[in-house]
């Protein structure tokens, strides 16, 4: 397991939810999908959750058994550990709209960004 991520910068973002965001991104090595996911996630967090989030990137190549323990079948998988409830978001996070809905940063509505 290797935690690459860290917190964002300044205090208040324009996004509504207040509090601490604990995010974990499961990857398998440096595959293009996984690298893309890390990139996408950092960008969205900076934009919507600046200063309120923590990203931990877990590489299942280093510990495959975590897949069973943490119930991860696919990569990339982003898990919102906090705020509760836990949410799972699968894919390279290119679809920002769905990512925001998945993180509940935006209420469910359709249409691309």
């Amino acid at each position: 397991m290797s935690g690459l991520g860290t917190a964002g910068a300044n205090g208040l973002a324009q996004a509504t939810p207040i509090g601490h965001w604990e995010l974990r991104l499961y990857v398998t090595g440096r595959s293009p999908k996984c690298l893309l996911a890390v990139e996408n996630l950092r960008r969205v967090c900076e934009q919507y959750l600046a200063g309120q989030y923590n990203i931990e990137v877990v590489d299942l190549l280093e510990n495959p058994r975590l897949a069973a323990e943490d119930q991860i079948l696919a990569v990339p998988t982003l898990v919102r550990k906090l705020p509760e409830p836990i949410r799972k978001i699968v894919g390279d996070l290119s679809d920002v709209d769905r990512l925001l809905v998945g993180l509940q940063l935006r209420s469910q509505k359709t249409g691309p960004v």
Binding site: L36, P64, I72, A74, T77, G91, R98
Partner: protein, 579 residues
């Protein structure tokens, strides 16, 4: 063997179907299944097991893993997408599979994934690399040779991106073969295609279909090997059963008539009956005992079983109508100490209600019992009582077939019916047919025994009275009287009645003859009398002629003489007055 895999994928279908009979197999440990597939699943390949919910897919996979781990020293991995690990252990435990123990011994690893579609939001491309990594890690760690993925199609529902799931599963199956493991993948039965998501197209080596039907509240499980590349296999639908010891597939669907016919005779336990059958039953033959309720069918079966145990042979008693305790107690009252034989382990008594199980299941259980007990003699008591459905005859045939193929001497009892149609149908399968009948006469009810047929045996056509006593069964000669009933079957009874009627007619004729003779005598008497009368009359006429007429002539002559003497008129006229 990645190279081989690649080659096979690009071969033409025709070339692939005939690689020869000798492909290596991995035993499933499922009774009957290894038999119909010539040894089990294709070794080092992936088999698809298809079935609706509750068809037994999971148990099929579990038994495959447990067999490998327990008996063959082949560790296994179960990845389940439907149940929790504790639930898997509990379910397997109900079949006597100690999943926890096997896991502790590193012979089995269970990975349970609970996939909640609502949790997952797809935001772009993904793959199932974690599953590959986990499997690779587990296979390497315990040296797994067997892998079961149950039910992989859940992934289609969870990750709504069908093309990706499809591509990843295809990759997974190829990867599994590269690992050299023998794998089972289970899938849901589809409506149009074999499986709901058509994943059979990625699994080309072996496809097994499990079916669970409920018809008229009777559940029936069937198994069919849809495809088995490179191997001969039975193509029929085989009944199977989920027994307390795992799955049992019954590899019998047709009657094969290649039984070894034994010349050896075994006793029925009744010396007189043995004598009627010219020395007893042929070993491995089949006997039907039919009769109305309370004619002693079960007792006859008990006698056969008792005799077998007394010879030190194992016997199986299958009861369709009563409990073992009840049976043993009842038989004790007519002198058979069956409890003793149960105690020695020679006799197995099994009570089963076929209607509660479904006919196929019942057959499967019987097959398992025969395997377990290895009896030399079996009695199926009341086997075709109750509802008699159309396929009952064929089921009966398969039961007989099963027992015959194992060389088991079998006695089947069934309740007789008015029209005898069932008995006739069943009796066609049997070597010997004994009929028991109650006869009521002179205020008592007696049992009679007839040997209707006995193949390959000279047998007595005589009727015996069948006595149930404290000391067992006695057969005694019966008196065949003019009432006719005691001579047997309905046909025979009819004959007797006809004979009686003939007798009656004869008596009538004799009586009539006698009557006629008497009337002749009477007539003759009357004739004589009349002749006498006539003769008398003639004599009278004669007498009149000779006497009276002469007298009359004499008188007339006198008168003429007198008148001539008196000079009287010649003849007085009526009108002429007297002077």
């Amino acid at each position: 063997m990645p190279f081989e895999t690649t080659v096979r994928d690009f071969r033409s279908p025709l070339a692939v179907t005939t690689p020869g009979p000798g492909i290596p197999k991995a035993s499933t440990g499922i009774r009957g299944f290894d038999e119909i597939t010539g040894g089990g699943l294709p070794f080092g390949r992936t088999t698809l097991v298809v079935g609706a919910a509750g068809a037994g897919k999971t148990l099929f996979g579990l038994e495959f893993l447990v067999t490998g781990a327990r008996q063959l020293g082949e560790p296994g991995v179960l990845v389940t997408f439907e149940e929790s690990a504790t639930k898997v252990s509990a379910n397997a435990g109900s079949l006597g599979f100690d999943i926890d123990g096997l896991q502790a011994g590193h012979m089995l690893v269970v990975h349970a994934f609970q996939v909640e579609p609502s949790e997952i939001v797809n935001t772009g491309e993904f793959d199932f690399e974690p599953l590959f990594l986990l499997l690779a890690d587990t296979i390497g760690r315990i040296g797994a040779k067997r892998v079961v993925l149950d039910t992989i199609e859940v992934l289609f529902g969870a990750f709504r991106d069908e093309p990706t799931v499809r591509a990843e599963l295809s990759r997974l199956f190829r990867w599994l073969e590269e690992q050299g493991v023998t794998a089972i993948v289970t899938a849901e039965r589809g409506e149009k295609e074999l499986t709901r998501h058509g994943i059979e197209e990625y699994v080309s080596d072996c496809v097994v279909l499990l079916d669970h039907r409920v018809h008229e509240e009777i559940s029936t499980r069937r198994l069919r090997v849809v495809k088995y590349r490179g191997s001969a296999h039975g193509t029929n639908e085989y009944p199977f059963l989920i027994s307390p010891h795992g799955l049992v597939v019954l590899p019998i669907t047709s009657m094969s008539l290649d039984y070894a016919a034994s010349e050896e005779r075994i006793s029925t336990g009744m010396a007189r009956l043995d004598h009627m059958l010219a020395g007893g039953l042929f070993r491995g033959s089949t006997v039907l005992v039919s009769g109305m309720a309370g004619t002693g069918k079960t007792t006859l079966g008990a006698s056969l079983v008792d005799a077998a145990c007394a010879r030190g042979e194992r016997a199986l008693m299958v009861l369709f109508e009563e409990s073992p305790d009840q049976f043993i107690r009842n038989m004790g009252s007519v002198g058979f100490d069956l409890r003793h034989w149960v105690g020695t382990g020679l006799l197995h008594v099994w009570a089963a209600r076929p209607s509660a199980l479904g006919s196929e299941t019942h057959l499967a259980m019987l097959a398992q019992l025969i395997e377990d007990v290895q009896p030399s003699v079996a009695v199926l008591d009341g086997v075709v009582n109750g509802a008699f459905s159309a396929d009952m005859g064929s089921l009966m045939g398969r039961k007989i077939d099963l027992l015959k193929s194992r060389g088991v001497t079998t006695l089947v009892t069934m309740l007789a019916h008015e029209d005898q149609s069932r008995e006739l149908e069943v009796s066609a399968l049997m070597d010997t047919w004994l009929l028991l009948r109650n006869v009521e006469s002179n205020g008592e009810r007696n049992r009679l025994l007839f040997v209707i047929k006995s193949r390959g045996t000279a047998h007595s056509n005589q009727v015996r009275e069948f006595l149930l006593t404290d000391g067992g069964i006695d057969l005694i000669d019966v008196y065949v009287g003019p009432e006719g009933v005691s001579t047997g079957s309905a046909r025979q009874a009819q004959e007797a009645r006809q004979r009686d009627a003939g007798l009656q007619r004869g008596e009538d004729l004799v009586r009539r003859q006698r009557d006629l003779r008497r009337s002749i005598v009477e007539g003759e008497g009357r004739l004589n009398a009349m002749e006498d009368e006539i003769a008398g009359a003639r004599a009278e006429i004669e007498r009149i002629d000779t006497q009276e007429l002469r007298e009359m002539t004499d008188t007339a002559a006198d008168r003429v003489a007198m008148s001539s003497r008196r000079w009287a008129d010649p003849e007085p006229a009526h009108s002429g007055g007297q002077p």
